[in-house]
Amino acid sequence: MAKLTINGKSYDLDVDPQTPLLWAIREQAGLTGTKYGCGIAQCGACTVHMDGEAMRSCSMVVADAEGKQITTIEGLAQGGVLTKVQQAWVDHDVPQCGYCQAGMIMAVSALLKAKPKPTDSDIDDAITNICRCGTFQQVREAIHAAAKA
């Protein structure tokens, strides 16, 4: 059993505490916006926020997430209103297949919280997610647009 707080909601989950957080979010909490891509913290498709910081949820276990505030892609838009990052993603038509984009948006949202006006170099350092479709050009445009919004 584990008690997790995801998107402000408390979950009592019947899960082995050594389960990767990613799979508890997807399979026990049923929030599938957070994706499995590699399982070894390389690709970033599983990125969530833990107490506001971007973390790769495939490589941390449920036990270490208890007592923390976890935010997933489903927790960004409130009342159907997109965040400025999500809105910039729509305005700049960023996603191609979209599979990596939840993780990308979570990583960018954390970056903008830490650095509201990131430079290109800040972006290069902070955003290390893999996108096999190759949306990086639009991602960069959208980050700058969100920073200005």
């Binding site: 994706k35 892609i73 729509v90 996603p95 191609q96 297949c97 979209g98 479709c133 990086f136």
Partner: protein, 731 residues
Amino acid sequence: MNEITRIDRRSFLVSAAAVGGGLAVGFDFPAGGRGAVRANASTPELNAWVVIKPDDTVVIRMVRSEMGQGTITGLAQLVVEELECDWSKVKTEYPTPGQSLARKRVWGDFSTGGSRGIRMSHEYVRKGGAAARMMLVQAAANQWNVPVGECTVAKGVITHGASKRTLRYGEVAEAAGKLEPPKDVTLKDPKDWKVIGQPMKRLDTLEKVTGAQIYGTDLKLPGMLNAAIRECPVFGGKVTSFDAAKVSGMKGVRKVVQVGDSAVAVVADTWWQAKSALDALPIVFDEGENKKVTSATIDKMLEEGLSAEQAFVGNDNGDAKAALASAVKKVEAVYSYPFQNHAPMEPMNATALYTADKCEVWVPTQDGEASLAAVISSSGLPAEKCDVHKLNLGGGFGRRGAFQDYVVQAVRIAKEMPGTPIKLIWSREEDMRQGRFHPIMQAKLVGGFDAQNNLTSLHIRLSGQSILAAVRPAILQQNKGMDPLVFQGLAKGGEHGFGYSIPNLLIDHAMRNTHVPPGFWRGVNINQNCVFMECFMDELAQAAGQDELEFRRKLLGKHPKNLAVLNAVAEKIGWGKPPPAGRFYGLAHMKAFAAYVAAAAEISVSADGKKVKVHRIIAATDPIHAVNPAQIDRQVAGSFVYGLSALFNQSCTVKDGCIAEENFDTYDSMRIAQMPKVESIIMPSGGSDPWGGVGEPTICVAAPAVLNAYFKATGKRIRSVPLKDHQIAMV
């Protein structure tokens, strides 16, 4: 017995699953064309492509798969152009391949590969839109009792000019659906296009930024269980034994099953439980003779092919061998290109529900009909008891079309547990081990000059793997053993025609197949062929002491469209003028998938030659007609990410018969920091040439343009991919 069950399964498999080889089947058109079957009366549709609801919502049905390339948006634009409806009211949906079969394949080919989504269906989807418009306007004219010629239509509103009366599409759709489809449909002249050619936003973005889009891995069905699988990592090997008792007591585990003769799966309540149990499951494989194969033994086999007597001739004119023998000067080089995995972000997966009476599969697939064929064959049920529900793909790149191995596995597992939906997801490691790999190839190129430094002869000997030998052997039989696809970009005319005119030319292929299964990988054979050809063109120009652009121009005189894209990138990058200090340029071009593409790269290199920064790439593409320039721009930039990741970082090596690279730590992919600025020049030449593709063609020009620039920077010619093997990194 009806029509469907009498389809010869072998021919169905071949026609339904043909990918990458330009094998589009010429189906007749919707709206009552030959072979088409109209829906039953309860389906509120105008024809197979268009459904209009009373609230004016326009549902456009299409069978090409969306995997990020924007095809559903582009296809919708084609329909809407002729339908004259309101773009903001458009929704799209996928018919199932089972529905299509039941209607005599009214939707035609489902295959989404070979950059064919738009170029091979633009005519019939536009006709579907036009036919629907004509029926809607006719229905309004009938209601008003006026001649149809007095009515006009714009954005889904029909107006009778004289009386100024109007009707919305939603108001006449039901009546229109009862009319006979028109016999003759005239399409707009391209100069009158209002929607085609516009940078429309994609129709499917919102759900991708909120986490709401359901991919195959996200599917939930009532009572569903999850499966993880391990197939013998040596291709061709078999399962000898496994000890299910060791894991059957683990939490959540429901069943351990052998899948075919080469794989074992664990079924559990959750996927993580299934995967954990699979990792703990002792499995003994009989790896067979292939265990002895390594990259070194494969390389040796290909090297032998470079000078072998027997080879299939794909393109020739004059007498290259004689001309080379008498050439005043000869230039020779050997290049190589490795196996590569597609590595889409979403690993292979499929969900199957089997009962004695029905088998349904939910799967991200590039070819719904190929998936259906796999369901039919693996379930043992007749076609009408099988169906496939397509889900949008988390990347495809060619892995999810011709190959439906994961569908077969899911059905086999589901057959062991009738009535329970089984979601099979591959781990990334399984996905990397069990790819259908970019074919491995070597090439020996020899060019000969006369006394005036004119290139008079060229022999390109390819040696390596044939995709079609493994995937479509029937095509080899039709070509006396030759795989025509090997010559993409080097072929004698056609959509992959060779652009250079050389008096004595020979391009041939010594087929050397390995036990590693090859597949159609974004761009297919243009990736290696463009590296071989376009790097060697630079080598030839430099040997002749000529400018690399001028050298190409002289040989492209007969192919103005090739020349036009090359000139466009050269002009924009400022070829011929000195680059900024520390920067170096490289060029490449090709005709691929009926499009003409070129790139000019600008790079800088660290003093030791080990760090390369690709600053920008100018890319030109002439796809003849450009449906959505914004999406084409994204496909160009995206293709460079895929192509440059491959150039710098990606090879799948063979050790003890298996693929050694199992995840992104050893098979790296570009990040945003490495992304060059991509400036695309979209230059559709229009006219009546066959439309060109978009998703794949440009991928091939990035690597040779960068390699040519690297030579300019360092004087060192790199002739094998990936650059990490030369300790060269992309920064």
